[in-house]
């Protein structure tokens, strides 16, 4: 059995209260000699306070929850995860990750969040799985929450909005204005099988609409590099091949570049390529990758929103922050 405060108290010949006063670091006067006895006893037994008991009593878990659609793969998500972990460490919090990769998991995730597993949550773009209703339900439970999303969320939590739709449209319009006529969109699998389009897909269709282009060329493959390569190869071999591809992720776009090169197509001559995400790798590709994405890959401000809430005494008003995104025209378009 793990040692309890009681065991430490017995060994140090004091009461459990004293043990708690010494170890929890509150400034309750404790005689130097007593304090030392307690510390020695705790060390000797290898005592660590039980988190469950502490949480129950203090109504604080010292944990934050990161809610994500997918696990890894996306450098931007990784960066957010890292920033969250690092900040959490500094503040003495642990991070619990909840993967919401389907409709069903969303319901379960909401329940987990409402069970008081963490003191706050950072929700990263979990598509439509976490509906506004579900988010509202969680917020209503009193959980401090920050949501990173490409749309406003009217439920009383902080929202970091990305202008994904607008900037994606801008990029596609650029392609059209340049004279490209057959612009394809390479989508993530989940973008194809749901009612509500993602920002990037919406940007694509919006731009085509504005320019009166009827023809939509939408293929899957953006989920991973290999799928993107094969999907692009097939697409570019078709008799009526596109003269531009807007890929839902930079990684996919880079695979498109590889496919084009392997087929002997010149970029941007024969084919223009634009990705989403503005990952660093786009700077070493050949040609450099045009992309749509955030200017800075730094989520410390987002994370701070959450910890501000955690440290606030009263409830804070819901804030909405607009994350700066831009269309970066580089060599591939």
């Amino acid at each position: 059995m793990r040692p309890t405060a009681r065991r430490v108290a017995e060994l140090a010949q004091v009461s459990v209260a004293t043990v708690s006063y010494v170890l929890s670091g509150r400034d309750r006067p404790v005689a130097a000699e007593t304090r030392q006895r307690v510390l020695d006893a705790a060390r000797q037994l290898g005592y660590t306070p039980d988190q469950a008991a502490r949480s129950l009593r203090k109504r604080r878990t010292q944990r934050v929850c990161l809610v994500q659609a997918s696990l890894g793969g996306n450098p931007s998500d990784e960066r957010l995860a890292r920033d969250l972990h690092e900040t959490a460490d500094v503040h003495g919090y642990s991070v619990i990750t909840l993967a919401v990769y389907s409709e069903g998991r969303a319901r379960a995730a909401a329940d987990v969040l409402r069970s008081g597993i963490a003191d706050g949550a950072l929700v990263n773009q979990t598509g439509d799985h976490l509906t506004h209703d579900l988010l509202a339900e969680i917020v209503a439970g009193g959980l401090p929450m920050v949501v990173v999303r490409n749309e406003s969320v009217p439920v009383g939590c902080d929202v970091v909005r990305t202008p994904e739709t607008e900037v994606s449209a801008e990029a596609v319009e650029h392609l059209l204005a340049e004279g490209r006529t057959r612009v394809a969109f390479m989508a993530h699998r989940h973008e194809l099988y749901r009612d509500h389009p993602t920002g990037r897909l919406l940007g694509y269709t919006t731009a085509l609409d504005r320019h009166g282009v009827d023809r939509r060329i939408i293929v899957s493959g953006a989920d991973d590099r290999v799928a993107a390569y094969h999907s692009a190869t097939e697409l570019l071999r078709s008799p009526d091949r596109p003269d531009a591809i807007f890929a839902a992720s930079d990684r996919a776009a880079i695979s498109v570049l590889s496919a084009a090169r392997d087929l002997g197509l010149s970029v941007p001559g024969d084919l223009a390529v634009i990705g989403v995400g503005n990952i660093d790798e786009g700077l070493i590709s050949n040609p450099q990758l045009s992309t749509v994405g955030p200017l800075r890959h730094d989520y410390t401000d987002v994370v701070r929103l959450l910890f501000d809430r955690l440290q606030a005494d009263g409830p804070l008003p819901a804030r909405e922050v607009l994350r700066p995104w831009t269309f970066l025209r580089r060599g591939s378009s």
Copy 2:
């Protein structure tokens, strides 16, 4: 305030015990009519049992902890994380991730694990930060644990060993046998600043030793694609450039291929390249990437080791599993 079992009990006109019996699903007989009243009350109030209280009483958190050196980036780590999350979901567990990216964090992580934050832990290659002593300390606390590592760990937990050193050596020997004379190693940053070499570095030096080669060419850059590209470019521009590069990761190796191409070097003619990890992307690179790594990217068996332990009644003997790795010679060497 979140509703408690007590509130539900009041609403349903029963005792809290009955509420617990109904909701926790134990097969304690409860009259159908009573059960329904409780269920209705719980639904009406949106009741979810408090995790802290439940954990305290049951001495089970329904959580597992994933301990990792880095967050994301490595496809293999991602896959492990995903497999763990999915299996955990199935078993009704949540996943808490602990990032151990430095010596200091290791001590803290050990304390967190010992505080009973989870029912079991899956430790993924956290280099030397988590020393055997620290691991032993955690295991001694009674925490079921599975460690994935490139060496045996004699502390009473399950170990999934990767023959990273041996297979790396094999790959480098292959380069030497082929007649390459200036073989460089591109390392992760952390590999350069610590006493104990990683398996891949050890494999590299071992192979050189065996062939009586004195000259070590070790550069950093394996941590990310951009750094690898620049590091490789610099290396390949040097007057006495290497004729082979063994990169500590496939991602880095692929950047080396890009750098070589941009410099007009032919692969494998002018330069042989071998990576580590056997990621799928190596199949779409041009030329295809030779690599050292696991045959299958599937960690369900590893995860099962952990859940076997969690579900076992008594203590299980420590198992050691050897993960199959191999040197895959493809187009780049």
